[in-house]
């Protein structure tokens, strides 16, 4: 029966033999995902058991967590998860041993969310390891990890993590409901899941935050958010996400609050730069030259002398080149990466200006924009603004500051309409909630910030006991 199910699967292993008592025994497992060493060492070479006890229940449960089943389908299911099935003659049952191979990447430093200060571990592809990283930080029975299986073929294990009593129940219900409604073949990455459960797909803005840092996950759990761990991806999903999470970095909470607040304002400013600088530059130089100081205008005019394109086209060209360079930088192997940066810096920065194709101020504007977009701690958010820069540029090229204003207003309307799991995207700024503002534009000190300092008091207030 099992052989039929696993027809044409070369990695299935059947090992049949006779025990010393003369009982025919069959062990079935899938090579690779089951720990063959353990089978060989623990199952066949017992140090603690007599030979006659081999393959009795006691022996089996001493090797690994075991369970008993009579169903052939369940057996197949478990085999695919890395269990080993033991059939012994004379019993109409199968003992399943959890002998999953613990292979995979070890815990490494976060690759994208680096900080100067703070923990240096990051999530791996194994959901069990990831769960343990969270559990280590929050050693409480209130930390709940509910497992779901998603994907008819991938059977991906998805864990919903939350702090009981602290979590927003409405959000939690929605998360579970949306996960339950997913009907798909496979979840290969957290991005699949993100798209399946997000509120609106037709928007450049992410409505679910992702992170590879367990400390960020723990902090968000303490704020009452829900976290999704998905097997096979090193990113955890955090819901709900608000727009202001864009400007929060893990480090903000580890450094002194004055510095953190200043840095947060810097990010806010750089975010505005990354969205508006090219369009404002184009709008002001081609529509409202009166807005510029006279001397600045004259040096700009001098620099633009002989440039063949209108400044909108020039800006679009440079932005396009910059995006190309960035994309090429990601694709290229490390060894050739320096070549790209040399070509980028020399060809675009220097030669294009000297050849009179683009003006030097435009190069400065575009590179400032590029640098500013890297200062946003959330990669998916900075991608959103990279995209939005282009329509903004077109609008400013057509209508000047009026177009920039139109673009801004439509952007704000869009952002105000967005929701992430029932939470308005711009909250707590719009709708305004003063009590929650202490972690938006400033990072207030912990002694003043009850929400950051002690979430348990919140639990007590809600449940009235504990």
């Amino acid at each position: 029966m099992l052989r039929q199910l696993f027809d044409a699967c070369f990695d299935i292993t059947f090992r049949s033999f006779k025990t010393p008592e003369g009982l025919a025994t069959l062990i079935v497992y899938i090579t690779g995902i089951t720990d063959a060493n353990k089978i060989n060492n623990d199952l066949f070479r017992p140090d603690t058991h007599e030979w006659k006890d081999l393959f009795t229940d006691i022996h089996l449960s001493s090797v690994a967590t075991s369970s008993v089943t009579h169903s052939i389908l369940e057996t197949a299911d478990r085999l695919l998860q890395g269990h080993a099935a033991v059939f012994v003659e004379g019993h109409s049952r199968c003992v399943l041993l959890d002998l999953k191979a613990k292979e995979g990447r070890s815990i490494e430093e976060p690759a994208f969310e680096q900080t100067i200060r703070g923990p240096r571990d990051s999530f791996t592809e194994q959901v069990e390891v990831n769960a343990s990283l969270i559990r280590k930080r929050l050693q409480s029975t209130r930390l709940k990890l509910e497992a779901f299986t998603v994907g008819s073929l991938s059977r991906t294990k998805t864990i919903v993590v939350y702090l009981d009593g602290l979590v927003d129940e409405k959000v939690l219900c929605q998360v579970k409901e949306r996960i339950g409604q997913i009907s798909t073949d496979a979840i290969l990455d957290s991005g699949y899941m993100e798209e399946m459960i997000e509120d609106v797909s037709f928007t450049p803005f992410p409505q679910i935050q992702n992170t590879e840092r367990p400390d960020i996950v723990a902090a968000n759990l303490l704020e009452g958010k829900v976290v999704l761990l998905i097997d096979g991806t090193p990113d955890a999903l955090i819901v709900p996400m608000t727009f202001w999470a864009t400007f929060q970095s893990a480090e903000d909470y580890y450094e002194r609050f004055i510095f953190s607040t200043l840095i947060r304002w810097t990010r806010l400013f750089l975010f505005i730069v990354s969205l508006y600088l090219p369009s404002l530059f184009v709008a002001i130089t081609t529509f409202h030259s009166q807005l510029m100081p006279t001397n600045f205008l004259f040096s700009l005019t001098s620099a633009r002398e002989g440039v063949p394109f209108p400044s909108v086209i020039e800006a679009l060209l440079m932005e396009f080149m910059f995006e190309g360079l960035r994309e090429a930088g990601i694709r290229l192997p490390k060894a050739t990466g320096s070549a790209v940066s040399i070509v980028g810096a020399l060809v675009i920065g220097q030669a294009a200006v000297q050849a009179g194709i683009v003006s030097a101020p435009m190069v400065i504007v575009v590179s400032m924009t590029g640098i500013a977009s890297f200062a946003i701690p959330r990669y998916n958010m900075s991608v959103a603004f990279r995209i939005l820069r282009f329509p903004m540029l077109l609008l400013s090229g057509m209508f000047g500051l009026y177009g920039v204003a139109i673009g801004t207003i439509s952007l704000l309307i869009h952002l105000c309409r967005l929701e992430s799991f029932g939470v308005p995207y711009l909250s707590p700024v719009s709708p305004l909630r003063f009590r929650q503002l202490n972690d938006v534009f400033v990072r207030s000190p912990r002694s003043k910030n009850s929400r950051i300092r002690n979430s348990l008091s919140l639990i007590r207030r809600r449940t009235g006991n504990d």
């Binding site: 130089t285 081609t286 529509f287 030259s289 009166q290 006279t294 205008l297 004259f298 700009l300 005019t301 001098s302 620099a303 633009r304 002398e305 002989g306 440039v307 209108p310 400044s311 909108v312 009179g356 090229g397 057509m398 209508f399 000047g400």
Partner: protein
């Protein structure tokens, strides 16, 4: 339905893109007018001769050999807009007046009235309100604009910087002119420049002369020289510091910081106005050629008295000049009376010019010496 509205929206976007009525104007299609000069010109029925100092953008690196960054162009016209339009016929880029910081008016034109050009200036929204308008004493606007001032890359910037260095307000003369001509009782004024040859060097340069006084019909009445204009600024509260030299057993010069003034006015039923102007300031001595021993209180008091007498004389001269010679209130006295006696003003505003000429103005100087500097008596005093 949704599809139809989407199609409409797309069409609308294409209309915007394709109609070609973009207001976009590249920097290099614009010609920036740095300074303008307007003179009276009575040939062939034209009235104005305008001169523009136009910016020449230099391409390439900044290490070029220094070339002139601007050139002059002139044209004639019936009015200002007509003259600019005429000039456009031989300019390859469109004139942009938004960055003009200076406007020079020849003396002849100023005497015949400047109300027309002020209208051209204030009606056009592209024109810059923070323009300084200068009257060129004893000359034409072209005289000044032809001078190649060595310090500034754009020689049109020179008068502004000279004015600034002399402690005056910059960028406000058009606004102040408009305010004074619309305000209660006062007559408008403009700063004055003059073409000048430096002593011994025989090289023409631009000199800041003082202020020009206009009457209510926007015609030039006359000038106040540098010191008089500075003293007027003291009364109006627009200067930041002043220098004053007195002669008391030898010359003594003091630097006045925090110059302040206050105008008190009293009115009688017959319509007669009495004005009292208090002049205040703190003096730091800069040069002392007198034999006074400044560490002694009595000598210091004598010197302070001398300074006060000096400023009083200067102020009275100024007042006499504006009151009797020009008969124009450029000291803000009408404004003070209007604020202090509004009911009186209501009845007498029409007659103010006459009342001003016959009012009694007294000066109460209250200068104080605060620092005598690092020396006590000069070296020649044993």
């Amino acid at each position: 339905m949704i599809n139809r509205s989407k199609a409409c929206l797309t069409l609308l976007v294409f209309v915007c893109l394709m109609c070609g009525c973009w207001d976009r104007k590249e920097l290099n299609d614009q010609l920036f007018d740095l300074a303008g000069g307007i003179d009276l010109d009575e040939s062939n029925g034209n009235r104005y001769l305008i001169t523009g100092q136009l910016f020449v953008p230099k391409s390439g690196e900044g290490q070029d050999p220094p070339r002139s960054a601007s050139f002059l162009e002139s044209s004639r016209g019936k009015n200002i807009a007509d003259a600019i339009d005429n000039m456009q016929q031989y300019l390859s880029r469109s004139m942009t007046r938004g960055h003009r910081r200076n406007l020079f008016i020849g003396e002849k034109l100023a005497r015949s009235g400047i109300s027309e050009l002020l209208d051209s200036y204030t009606r056009d929204p592209n024109s810059r309100l923070r323009t300084d308008i200068w009257v060129v004493k004893e000359g034409t606007a072209q005289d000044i604009m032809k001078i190649n001032y060595p310090l500034e890359k754009l020689s049109a910037m020179a008068p502004i910087k000279i004015h600034q260095a002399a402690g005056g307000e910059v960028g406000t003369s058009l606004v102040h002119y408009l305010m004074a001509s619309k305000g209660e009782g006062s007559s408008p004024t403009l700063p004055v420049v003059k073409k000048f040859s430096s002593p011994g060097l025989d090289k023409p340069t631009i000199m800041f002369y003082g202020r020009a006084i206009f009457n209510h019909k926007h015609k030039l009445l006359g000038y106040l020289n540098y010191d008089e204009a500075h003293n007027r600024g003291w009364i109006m509260g627009t200067i930041k510091n002043a220098l004053i030299t007195t002669d008391y057993q030898g010359t003594v010069t003091g630097f006045v910081s925090q110059p302040k003034s206050r105008i008190y006015s009293a009115v009688s039923n017959s319509g007669y106005v009495k004005v009292e102007i208090t002049i205040k300031g703190k003096i730091v001595l800069k040069e002392n050629n007198s034999s006074l021993v400044l560490s002694e209180g009595t000598d210091l008091m004598k010197l302070q008295q001398s300074f006060n007498n000096e400023i009083k004389t200067q102020m009275l001269n100024l007042i006499h000049k504006v009151q009797k010679e020009y008969k124009a209130d450029v000291l803000g006295i009408g404004e003070a009376v209007y604020r202090q006696h509004p009911s009186y003003w209501k009845n007498h505003r029409g007659k103010w010019d006459n009342i001003f000429v016959h009012s009694e103005i007294i000066i109460r100087p209250k200068l104080e010496i605060k620092q005598i500097g690092q020396q006590n008596s000069p070296l020649h005093v044993k």
